[in-house]
């Protein structure tokens, strides 16, 4: 029962924060992906950096259970799937989590996104055997690997350097990039209005 309670608390916090940072708003996603308004990109980079530093720091001092890490496998399909997701994300302005949140916040178009998503997931379920047979789902570079070797984790490291320290260093780079990144890389960003709410 504890895990259900945690799911409710952490899930609700995640949904509320996604709503407040603009991630559930296609106008902000569109601004980010056209490089006209990078505010959301800065937010996300900072979040990944903060999460990384706290997690690896917490693991080093024994606060965070290394067993909680969950690393996904690397394979060619990750890149192909990433390309597909990217195209659909740009066109619709939603990704799976933010689409669900957007629908909950009242956006009707997001309901169509979810319906399309359920059909897309079903289509993958139906075509999975061909992908499996193609070899594109076979592990690359060891599959479930992290860049450095994280002490106590069940995942191999690509490099023998301390995965904890490397994680903190990379986290710091994410934070730094968030600060250095300008508000806009393509003209028109600052002047574009953001009405609609």
């Amino acid at each position: 029962m504890t895990s259900i309670l945690l799911a409710i608390v952490i899930g609700a916090a995640f949904g509320a924060v996604l709503d407040r940072i603009g991630a559930t708003n296609p106008n902000w996603i569109g601004g980010m992906l056209t490089l006209r308004r990078l505010h959301l990109m800065k937010t996300i980079l900072l979040a990944i950096g903060v999460g990384s530093i706290l997690m690896f720091g917490g693991q080093m001092i024994g606060l965070v259970d290394v067993g909680h890490m969950s690393v996904k496998a690397a394979y060619v399909g990750v890149f192909i799937g990433g390309l597909m997701l990217g195209a659909g994300w740009a066109a619709s302005g939603y990704c799976p989590g933010t689409g669900v949140c957007a629908a909950a916040s009242g956006r009707k178009d997001a309901l169509f996104f979810i319906a399309g998503g359920l059909l897309g997931a079903a289509a993958y379920m139906a075509t999975y055997p061909s992908w499996k047979a193609s070899g594109l789902l076979d592990d690359l570079a060891g599959g479930k690997v992290t860049l450095g070797s994280v002490p106590g984790s069940s995942y191999d490291g690509l490099m023998s350097v301390s995965g904890d320290l490397l994680g903190i260093a990379i986290g710091a780079v994410f934070v730094l990039v968030a600060f250095v990144l300008p508000d806009s890389l393509v003209g028109g960003g600052e002047t574009a209005e953001m009405p609609a709410e």
Binding site: I4, G11, N25, V64, F79, A87, P96, L119, M125
Partner: protein, 182 residues
């Protein structure tokens, strides 16, 4: 209005951290499969079956990894599924507290109207098609923006960087082509 990126980024980072501290990294897209599995099993009770070792399915994807997905669909009251429902609830409450979204924006966002005028039906079609490609791609990749990009890169997972490279390589040109204004 939207939070300052420093505040928003810090809050989102704290949520990622809380998730990995207390349970496991955040992920969403698998639950679309679980939902499909629940529906399929309701229509055809033979879809998911219990075995001596656990659960399995007539669908190879649901049955993979010793029926991990089949088990979750058979028992939706599990952490990851409830997480997604709670996420929707959190967004709903948060949106209500900031005054909700106006009627025009609800059917098509401003950036859409700026480029394509008042064409909600076309917007719904693009959102539907986009959803199809997003979830097909996410399942092929084994995760989405949450699981691969945010949680993956946070853990320095090689797969997270590969995914992010693919996602942005397609997303940026696509967005620039479709949304020239706004």
């Amino acid at each position: 209005m939207v939070l300052n990126w420093k505040t928003g980024g810090l809050l989102l980072g704290l949520v990622f951290f809380a998730a990995v501290l207390l349970v496991k990294p955040i992920g969403v897209s698998t639950q679309f499969v679980i939902f499909d599995g629940i529906v399929a099993d309701a229509v055809n009770p033979e879809f998911i079956t219990q075995t001596d070792e656990g659960f399995t399915s007539t669908n190879a994807y649901m049955a993979k990894s010793s029926g991990k997905y089949a088990k979750s669909a058979a028992d939706p009251l599990n952490y990851s599924f409830i997480f997604v429902l709670a996420m929707a609830l959190g967004a709903f409450v948060s949106a209500r507290l900031r005054g909700g979204i106006d009627a025009v924006e609800r059917s098509a966002p401003a950036i859409w109207r700026e480029n394509f005028g008042d064409t909600p039906m076309m917007r719904y079609a693009v959102a539907f098609l986009g959803g199809f490609i997003v979830l097909y791609g996410a399942r092929l990749a084994g995760g989405c923006t949450s699981g691969h990009m945010m949680s993956g890169m946070m853990q320095t997972a090689l797969s997270g960087y590969i995914f992010a490279a693919g996602a942005f390589a397609a997303a940026i040109p696509t967005a620039m082509l479709i949304y020239k204004r706004g």
